[in-house]
Amino acid sequence: MYPHERSLVARMQGKPFALLGVNSDPKEKVVDALKRENITWRSFWDGGNTRGPIATEWGVQGWPTMYLIDHKGVIRKSYVGSPGGEVLDREIEALMKELEAGK
């Protein structure tokens, strides 16, 4: 997903959009991934393994798991496993349209 995420973040730059990670790797592995993959978006660091407090609280059982949250803070969609870039893009666009319409 890294290439898609990079292009998503680049395309949405300056718009009211954020990709926000919750990362479940050991510290040195995250640091390496951020540098190697040129990851510019922010991530919570969830304690170094998949049983971190955030993943546990959110009941995450498979990685990646994604939540789509609208501008009012309401969960609008969730995926266990990647839905693929194209689907994700269209659903983000649908939420951006709602935001722009001030719904």
């Binding site: 997903m1 995420e5 998503l8 009211p16 959009f17 954020a18 990709l19 926000l20 990670g21 919750v22 990362n23 479940s24 790797d25 510290k27 592995k29 995250v30 640091v31 390496d32 991934a33 951020l34 993959e37 922010r42 991530s43 919570f44 660091w45 969830d46 998949t50 407090p53 955030i54 993943a55 609280e57 959110w58 009941g59 995450v60 990685w63 990646p64 798991t65 994604m66 939540y67 789509l68 949250i69 609208d70 501008h71 009012k72 803070g73 309401v74 969960i75 609008r76 969609k77 969730s78 994700l88 269209r90 659903e91 983000i92 666009e93 649908a94 939420l95 349209k97 709602e98 935001l99």
Partner: protein, 284 residues
């Protein structure tokens, strides 16, 4: 005395032998409904295994697609045989097995035939529990009504728990479908036909995601209570309660406060006013 005894033994042995031959020759026609059920399902499983082997043996994508399109076992043919078996022995325990298999494996039309019979004649049978979850995932006009009927009629507490759990899943899935339709109306579905647009709008108007989520919580709670003897199942039901209360579609996302890997503080609410993709990820 010895002589007579041994003659008697010989006669008995001969009689037993001829009985055994008779029984063996009669066996194929006299198989019990349970044996017939096992035979049909066994045949299906062999066909399914052969299909999986053929898919693996085809090396490239197009070949695999061809195998998938042509060699898949004909579920409907097995379903037809099982429905026939259930018809021939409606009071036998194998009838319930045959109907459950068909309900869970066949396409909608055949599955509904099996479900009709199960919910008309077998709501007392504990084995009906196996259709509850697949039924909830399917979402049809009759799902809700069927599960409620089972909940009212079953004498088994464990089946009550399964029916309640399935009703919870049904409500949750309905809320998720509604949420998808809203996104689709806003452009997530390409080239939306006017007739679909109308249908989506009707569904969205006639359902309420918060009400559905609350109803789901009620059912999952009931399932956890009735599953008292089955700790693993009760735990699943409780996990669903937690999920629907906090992370269900339509709920406000719970606050997350934490730090990034460099120790800088982040809060999810910092991003309020923006569309957010929250991505649980790992570099593996």
């Amino acid at each position: 005395m010895n002589m007579r005894q041994s003659n008697h033994d010989r006669r008995t042995a001969a009689l037993l032998f001829s009985l055994a031959v008779f029984a063996a020759s009669a066996l194929p026609a006299e198989r019990t409904p349970a044996q017939q059920y096992e035979a049909i399902v066994g045949e299906y499983e062999l066909a399914q295994a052969a299909f999986a082997t053929a898919v693996r043996a085809a090396k490239v994508g197009p070949d695999r697609d061809k195998v998938r399109a042509t060699k898949r076992p004909d579920v409907a043919a097995f379903g037809t045989r099982l429905l026939k078996l259930a018809d021939a022995h409606p009071k036998d325990a194998a009838a319930v097995d045959a109907l459950v298999w068909t309900a869970n494996h066949s396409d909608d039309e055949q599955a509904h035939k099996a479900l009709d019979r199960l919910f008309a004649d077998h709501t007392n049978d504990a084995k009906i529990a196996a259709v509850c979850e697949p039924l909830a995932v399917r979402i049809t006009d009759t799902t809700d009504q069927r599960l409620r009927k089972l909940l009212a009629e079953t004498p088994h507490r464990a089946v009550k728990a399964q029916a309640a759990f399935a009703l919870g899943l049904y409500c949750k899935n309905k809320a998720e479908v509604r949420a998808d339709l809203i996104l689709n109306l806003n452009g997530a579905e390409k080239d939306l036909a006017p007739v679909d647009r109308k249908h989506y709008e009707d569904v969205i108007k006639s359902t309420d995601s918060v009400k559905l989520a609350n109803e789901a919580v009620k059912w999952f709670r009931a399932a956890a209570t009735d599953a008292s003897g089955d700790a693993a199942f009760a735990k699943r039901a409780q996990a669903q309660v937690h999920e629907v209360e906090h992370f269900c579609i339509g709920r406000e996302a719970m606050e997350i406060t934490g730090e990034d890997v460099d120790g800088r503080k982040i809060k999810l609410s910092d991003f309020r006013g923006k569309v957010v993709v929250l991505d649980f990820w790992g570099d593996w």
